[in-house]
Symmetry: C2
Subunit: 680 residues, 2 copies
């Protein structure tokens, strides 16, 4: 009877331990994930377990009620002061005295799994880079005089196996007062970087069990979004976003690069603006969640390469021209204070690695979130913005590129285009028979043909059309036979619709008349021939990028398509397919991943293992540069048609049985083209 | 003839290398210390060598004039532009084509030896922690997009074997402009910490050969002294000192600790004062040497534990009482900016390790300078200040302690005492026959019995007596029979000197009368019975500390005594021996090391190997805490006598043949002692 069988659930790990071994020690020996901050002193309660009693034939063990030592004084005191749930034991106090089956509840696991809020059942396994560690530091000994920090470091090594921890000199002044207040006991916030370096980020007297927090920041060209999360549980306490204030220097990235190039001190101005916004957002989230900024010990930042460089104070000019040289591409683990974040002064900022000159940390975050390299399916992930980042891969190989789609998908370069904001048309349907449209605007739940629409949409009005709206409008126009394969809008005579009105030698489709309501006296909203050309250019670029990666992979088809990003979340897979934005794929295999970059940032915030994994994955990704690939141009030219009748259409719920129209382009457009060639 | 014998002088290293190997490559292969910044591109000239021609029987080689390839175009160009001394070759260009003897001149060695200015012939071997490294960074490649920094780091690894170098994020913005300006060539200031971590501290376009500088700072309680040196050559370009501004918070360390304890924010006030002074001194030295503050990339700081903690912003209160707990005792390698030094923003500050609660980085620096652990002789090193740091050791074992001598040796607690400043009596002689004194004051080269003394000393006056002056005065009084073994001053009747005047029940010796000149109308300068008691207490503490270490070492005698520090440089070994300040030792084995702590700081500044060595040495030192050793008290009590006739006296050049006097203490002193016991 000198040792006993012990089985831990849910891990199933098992082994024999000597009689009298504490459950916590047994867990450590068997590699079972059982939390502890105080290191087994019975004061932190993180190591709570639930012993099983009875027969467990599946596990091959019978556990008596006396398998563990009786409830002891330490547990009783803890129960009195803080309460211990029925059946729970402190793992550091309960000793194994017979064969036992012991369950580790989720809240006692460090590497607990957190279900993502998104529809998918993907989980994040917690593996926080920063953890609280209590140590009892032996008194100074005049015969062996070492510093208090050196004794604390020795205790960290002895009790926790944490070697070579560094205390920043600026924390030294707080060490001795904390030790004095805590009677030699001290809690350290121990941070491990992806490269294995160990730093102390903060310290408290005695046992400190306060929550530590982190920020996951998705720094986009247009908006900056962030989540404030609990570092131990992964729970999001506050989320928010602000406009990227750099917008006043240029709507799209390249105009900001130009601003930096053309204006003395321009890059510094852009840097100041974005850092100020990051600081404001951090403050705002802390306030909203009601947490002290000093408890925020980590931040994770994902962004595209231009934003990356501007945030770091690096002039992005080299990113504006071949060879698109990044100043640095590795993941960075740096003081958050370097970016002016007013959180804990020692807080670390982790920036995901960049994949290539046009494929940034945001794309790396998408890869981390979607894990193309973990899939048997060949998955195509597109994150559409001013540039589309495209990732194609499976467990054998992952490729990435970016494609210059331009801002049309974001509503820019569209005659009635606008940002996705209240009043913007975001959904469109056109009756194939009558050619009459109906639509929905952001901020109103009703379709425009609902009798209550004029009243309900009075607050927002109908102000324009956003990216997902123009996609649907053009796709519906194509499905309704209003637009031919070349993208030409037919005349009223050709289409039979009075909404096709002449504009010079081309035509436009009248999507909305102010007199139809809500009576805001706004302008007509038209889809013009120019709008269709702009979307054709954008979608051709996107399609060509995807095709280029498929060529490189040696395939003609993909198993799955994932639409990432805010835009991806709003466009309908059907309409994207009608437009030929993405390679052919069964409609039910086209899914939206929502803000996958933001999710990737949250995963990196929650997990050190994830940081290490994405750093390795990014190194292994094959980068394809579209700008220098002649085949990109070929695919681009070939992709301008609006296919309409390709494979996915057979799966449409609505019948698509219209004859294939073909409209002649007016001479006007040819003349225009000649004119612009003359003036070039 | 496929390989040749090559012998390098002065190292004597030899080996065979393939025909056509460059001298630089041969040196690297054979481990010969031959400098290079450009990595063998023929542009930096650091690798100059002088080939020998003829028979070298001692080396067993005959070298033809054609042993090296002819002077080539690169060398010719270098010679045209910058000049190459007669007979010199560039080691990276000259190729070995027969047996050769090659001399590496001192200026081409990294680890060149620098003779210390002090009288000793000790040398500092240069081993700079920060060195310039040129790398040619390959152009960005769109097919393998890595950041410019990653390619620079790869070049550092390939060309220089420097792995895992870190570029601080704040230098990233300067990387690409420097690469652009240098056509991909860039010079990096590469710093290696004692723990092996590699950091880039600065960078320049192309090949940069500007000098890098460092500060060696000796932060004393009273004065702060610093040297500004060239990091590559060790040459001191400027030296200077300022008073420690903390003096206004307390003359001695313990009164500053009290100030910190008793005043809210007191420690912070002390920290601000000393940091400001350090900053001022750094600025002053840079200005004096005419170097840009940005070229100062390193600083080394030595100081006692209280100054150490105050400089780092740590409340020193725990150092004021047992167990004298240090917040940290390890060497620190930290940003110099943390102490507010306005030098290069990335500059590193190295602080030597502390030995114990009362034995600081200054004592470690003394150990580094004097190397007791390298000596066969058992060496006693005493560095006298308010506390005396005492080190005893030989190559088998080194011990250290500190002893609370109090401020008497610095002129405090002495009736006419003052700091060592112009006007202070620093040397004293008393004629054993006439009992008449003569003395010298700081700021005047004449003895006071010189007829010109009154005129020459008019500028300084005779204002008081400094530490070395009081030592000599009392020792001379003892030698002249004016003071007995117990330290009592005799009366005129007992001594036959009218200068022994009554003061209550004790006597005082009149060292200087204002009417004797220089006619400044100052006060009389007396050596009182109280002065002798104060010096007896101080010297007993010093002696007892030394004896304690000798007991621990199991010895009754030492082979050498080294007096370190400003005080040690000024006191005469003879008089120290007469007073019994130090254990018996032949007078010619008592030497002064001058400012050994400052020298240690300079050595640490010059040499990374020295930093590593002293860190290891300090760990190995046996620390003895005088405060808790009962034998310290025993030695202290036994040491109060003034021995006068002990061993060293037989070596005196002046005859010491006076009868041994013995004076009765007056009842006054006994009464005083009783009174203070009553009031305690």
């Amino acid at each position: 009877m000198s040792d006993h069988l012990v089985i831990f659930t849910p891990s199933g790990k098992r082994g024999r331990v000597p009689d009298g071994t504490s459950v916590l020690d047994a867990a450590r020996r068997l590699g079972v994930d059982l939390d502890s901050v105080c290191g087994g002193r019975g004061i932190c309660s993180k190591c709570q377990v639930t012993p099983g009693i009875g027969d467990f034939p599946k596990h091959g063990v019978t556990a008596a009620a006396t398998a563990l030592s009786p409830f002891n004084e330490v547990e009783a005191r803890y129960d009195r002061i803080r309460g211990l749930a029925e059946g729970r034991r402190l793992g550091c106090q309960a000793r194994i005295q017979a064969d036992a089956l012991i369950d580790v509840p989720a809240e006692s696991q460090v590497h607990k799994q957190v279900i993502r809020k998104a529809a998918s059942d993907r989980v994040i396994e917690m593996d926080p880079a920063t953890r609280l560690r209590f140590v009892q530091v032996p008194q100074a000994d005049m015969h062996a005089p070492t510093g208090d920090w050196e004794r604390a470091a020795a205790a960290l090594a002895a009790d926790w196996g944490i070697e070579d921890a560094r205390l920043p000199p600026s924390l030294l002044p707080r060490l001795q007062p904390a030790l004095a207040e805590g009677d030699g006991g001290i809690t350290l916030a121990v941070h491990e970087a992806a490269d294995g370096r160990i730093r102390i980020l903060d310290l408290w007297p005695g046992l400190h069990e306060g929550a530590l927090h982190g920020l996951a920041i998705d720094l986009g060209s247009t908006t900056i979004a962030a989540h404030l999360a609990d570092l131990a549980t992964g729970r999001v306490l506050a989320s928010g976003g602000v406009m990227n204030p750099q917008i006043r220097f240029g709507e799209d990235l390249m105009s900001r690069v130009s601003y930096a190039m053309m204006n003395e001190g321009g890059a510094a101005e852009l840097t100041r603006a974005v850092r100020r916004a990051l600081g404001d957002l951090a403050r705002q989230l802390a306030q909203e969640a009601g947490v002290a900024p000093g408890t925020i010990l980590e931040a994770v930042l994902v962004c595209n390469p231009v934003m990356h460089h501007l945030a770091l104070g690096i002039d992005p000019t080299p990113l504006g021209q071949a060879p698109f040289a990044l100043a640095t591409s590795s993941a960075l683990d740096m003081p958050a204070a370097d970016l002016g974040l007013e959180i804990n002064p020692q807080a670390r900022l982790y920036i995901l690695p960049l994949i290539a000159g046009h494929v940034g940390a945001d794309a790396a975050a998408v890869a981390l979130s979607e894990g193309p390299g973990k899939s048997d399916d060949l998955t195509l992930i597109v994150d559409v913005g001013t540039n589309a980042e495209i990732i194609l891969g499976n467990r054998h190989r992952v490729l990435a590129c970016s494609s210059p789609t331009g801002p049309a998908f974001e509503g820019a370069q569209i005659s009635a285009g606008q940002r996705a904001a209240p009043g913007a048309i975001e959904r469109v349907r056109i009756d194939p028979q009558t050619k009459e449209p109906r639509f929905k605007v952001i901020g109103c739940d009703l379709w425009s043909d609902d009798p209550d629409f004029p009243a309900q949409s009075a607050a927002t009005g109908v102000t324009g059309i956003c990216g997902s709206g123009i996609i649907e409008a053009i796709a519906e126009m194509r499905l309704a036979g209003l637009v031919d394969r070349q993208g030409l809008i037919g005349s009223t005579e050709q289409t039979g619709s009075a909404r096709c009105i002449a504009q010079g030698r081309t035509h436009a489709y009248l999507l909305h008349r102010p007199e139809d309501g809500p009576g805001d006296g706004g302008a007509e909203i038209l889809v013009t021939q120019g709008d269709i050309r702009a979307i054709q250019l954008a979608k051709s670029a996107l399609y060509a990028g995807a095709r280029l990666l498929m060529d490189e992979m040696g395939t003609d088809s993909v198993d799955r398509v994932v639409l990432a990003g805010a835009f991806g979340a709003h466009i309908s897979p059907l309409h994207a397919a009608v437009l030929g934005m993405i390679p052919d794929c069964p409609l039910d295999r086209i899914t939206s991943a929502g803000n996958a970059a933001g999710t990737g940032a949250r995963i990196a915030l929650a997990s050190l293992a994830a940081r290490r994994a994405i750093e390795a994955d990014v190194r292994a990704i094959t980068k394809v540069e579209t700008a220098i690939e002649p085949r990109f141009q070929e695919h681009f030219v070939a992709a301008s048609a609006l296919p309409h009748a390709s494979a996915p259409f057979t799966e449409l719920t609505r019948a698509v049985t219209l004859p294939e129209p073909a409209f002649n382009a007016g001479g006007g457009e040819r003349r225009r083209r000649r004119r612009s060639a003359d003036s070039a």
